[in-house]
């Protein structure tokens, strides 16, 4: 009863990166607990996935061949069966959109305490986990006083596992009760298409909540123009309908890796950072010196964008629009 059971994730025929991060996180927790790391693979080509997941640190891989795509009812049943068979101390699940579609239900039905979006843990003694709060401005630690618990771990927080493992792979005998499934997944839709592909841009001028109003958007449009850059944005700008979806950088938008990324009025929430941290040079303009974006930036200006951007436009011979 010191084992870790980590659930992997795939979509449309491919394992997602987070699955390999689950190995690293799971191995580190299993070492702390002094137990084995078990992986659970539920949908897609589970045998091929098991091969791919057989990396250093994995002790056993359990497969449940249950459908091509994710369905939270199937996952819930499969995880409950695996948990019953293995009685792990820790149930690790990814803090992804799909992870959040089953983890709270599984924790509920298995009567496990749940802590989500974990960014660190210390299993030396009672388990202590670390997570962020108030948009990353503070970190909090939680102690879990329980023999068994469930955690969801933040994507891209642990590195992906590498190397070749020698895990035992076995098919778990689970009878999925189709009549208990209350949802039907009918397909997928690609959004965020359109005329501009921000992933192709060398220089991105990216605008966030700090721009305050739709009427102020021409300011950053002009800056992009004089820099011969492409305009992108963080989520709130697209939610508000001020820029189209194809301009959105972040977890639910596009992942970009330009030479230069100029973040204007963007605080740097984790979902945004997931989409731009691979940029070569990051420049941030923000009034809040504690904004998480400065943790990532190579260069920064702590000042009001409405002061700095007009000066910048002028420096490149442009004309600041009336906003």
């Amino acid at each position: 009863m010191t084992d870790v059971l980590a659930v992997t994730e795939s979509r449309r025929g491919e394992l997602r990166d987070v699955s390999f991060e689950m190995i690293t996180a799971g191995r580190s927790l299993a070492d702390g607990l002094g137990g084995d790391l078990h992986l659970l693979v539920v949908n897609g080509d589970v045998d091929a996935f098991a091969d791919e997941l057989n990396r250093e640190g994995v002790d056993a891989i359990h497969t449940v061949d249950a459908g091509e795509e994710f369905n939270h009812g199937v996952y819930t049943q499969a995880i409950e069966a695996a948990h019953g068979a293995l009685s792990p101390t820790a149930l690790l699940m990814p803090n992804t959109v799909n992870g959040l579609d089953y983890a709270p239900a599984v924790a509920g039905s298995l009567d496990l305490p749940l802590v989500t979006d974990v960014v660190g843990f210390d299993a030396d003694g009672a388990l202590e986990v670390t997570r962020e709060q108030y948009g990353g401005k503070v970190e909090t630690t939680y102690e879990l006083d329980a023999d068994a618990y469930a955690l969801t771990v933040r994507p891209a927080e642990w590195p992906q596992a590498e190397g070749t493992g020698d895990a035992a792979v076995e098919s778990l005998d689970v009878e999925i009760d189709d009549t208990a499934l209350g949802t039907t997944v009918n397909g997928f839709e690609e959004v965020a298409g359109g005329d501009v592909d921000i992933t192709e841009a060398d220089v991105l001028v990216s605008v966030g909540r700090g721009i305050e109003e739709e009427e102020n958007i021409p300011l950053v449009e002009e800056l992009a123009e004089v820099l011969d850059a492409t305009l992108s944005s963080s989520r709130p700008i697209v939610d508000n309908g001020w820029l189209p979806k194809n301009r959105q950088v972040g977890q639910s938008g596009k992942v970009v890796t330009p030479d230069v990324y100029i973040a204007i009025g963007i605080s740097g929430a984790v979902q945004h950072v997931a989409g731009m941290k691979g940029s070569d040079t990051i420049i941030a303009i923000n009034t809040d010196p504690n904004a998480p974006i400065f943790d990532l930036a190579d260069y920064g200006i702590v000042d009001d964008l409405f002061e700095v951007v007009p000066e910048l436009i002028e420096a490149f011979g442009g004309e600041t629009p009336e906003v």
Binding site: R11, H72, T96, V97, L100, D101, Y102, A103, P104, A105, G108, P113, L114, T116, D117, E128, Q133, Y134, K137, V138, E139, T140, T141, Y142, E143, L144, D145, G182, T183, F188, E189, V191, A192, L227, D228, V238, D239, G241, K245, Q251, S252, K254, D259, V260, T281, I283, T287, P289, N290, F294, L296, Y299, G300, I301, V302, D304, V308, E311, A315, G317
Partner: protein, 262 residues
């Protein structure tokens, strides 16, 4: 049809703040309606405007202070509100997602809504778990991270917003809990008329006993042990001076890097 919407009053931390004990000192917290819940309220109100006989009820776990936020939801078109609170809840150090789901489950069982809309997460704690945990407890179906919702008879056709610009198209049997993503609609501003009407709408306060619980329901094996400001990982070069000077530094940098010619 009845729609229950969970409405949370969230705390936002000011740029400069201090931590006292296990939380940010109250002096540095500003309270507002959770951004995700604003979209959930709007979605419910839109459904009630497009269909006959739809009642929209909000439920909040929160102290008296949160009534300002609740009135805002009522002003935007919700019909009545419930607030869960008493001295025992006040005394609890913090409520984890399982505890909140347990409290809300009693409200769902009493109200028997066809649809429960929650935000995907809250701005402050960001657990992202309460809605789905609630669905499991009351034996409702659910869908997490919904950015399009169309209710037809006893089925909801939803889009779930996955990572990387992909949406999953899913049918969900009702009754169900949906966790609502920002951007699903355009939340309205409360009208003056709405704000006046909201003052007269029912806002019922229920304690643990009213919901059939005693204080044990608040016990959780999850205990918050510390809160601190993370050490800055920043090694950014910060240009200082007036806006003209900093913009000048940046302009020089961009030219030197060959980003911009001339």
């Amino acid at each position: 049809m009845k729609i229950l919407v969970t409405v949370k009053e969230v705390a936002e931390v000011e740029d400069e703040f201090e931590i006292s004990g296990l939380d940010v000192d109250d002096r540095y917290l500003d309270y507002d309606l959770n951004e995700w819940d604003d979209y959930a309220v709007e979605e419910a109100v839109q459904i009630s405007e497009e269909n006959d006989d739809v009642e929209v009820v909000t439920v909040t776990i929160g102290p008296e202070r949160s009534e300002e936020t609740i009135r805002m939801a009522l002003a935007k078109g919700a019909d009545r509100a419930l607030r869960v609170w008493d001295d025992d809840v006040e005394a609890a150090e913090f409520l984890d997602a399982n505890t909140k789901a347990e409290l809300l489950s009693a409200v769902v069982e009493a109200e028997e809504p066809d649809l429960v809309l929650t935000g995907v997460q809250s701005n402050d704690d960001s657990y992202g778990a309460t809605g789905v945990a609630l669905a499991e407890r009351v034996d409702y179906e659910w869908a997490a991270v919904v950015n399009a919702l169309d209710v037809e008879d006893d089925t909801a056709h939803v889009h779930r917003e996955l990572e990387g610009g992909i949406e999953e198209l899913t049918d969900v049997e009702l009754p169900a809990v949906m966790t609502i993503q920002t951007g699903i609609n355009e939340p309205r501003y409360a009208s003056l008329r709405g704000i006046r009407q909201a003052q007269r709408k029912e806002l019922d306060v229920q304690g643990l006993a009213d919901l059939g619980f005693d204080a044990d329901v608040l016990e959780t094996p999850v205990e918050r042990t510390s809160m601190y400001e993370p050490e800055s990982e920043s090694d950014a070069t910060i240009w200082e001076g007036s806006a003209e000077e900093t913009a000048g530094e940046l302009a020089t940098f961009l030219r030197e890097q060959g980003v911009v010619e001339g």
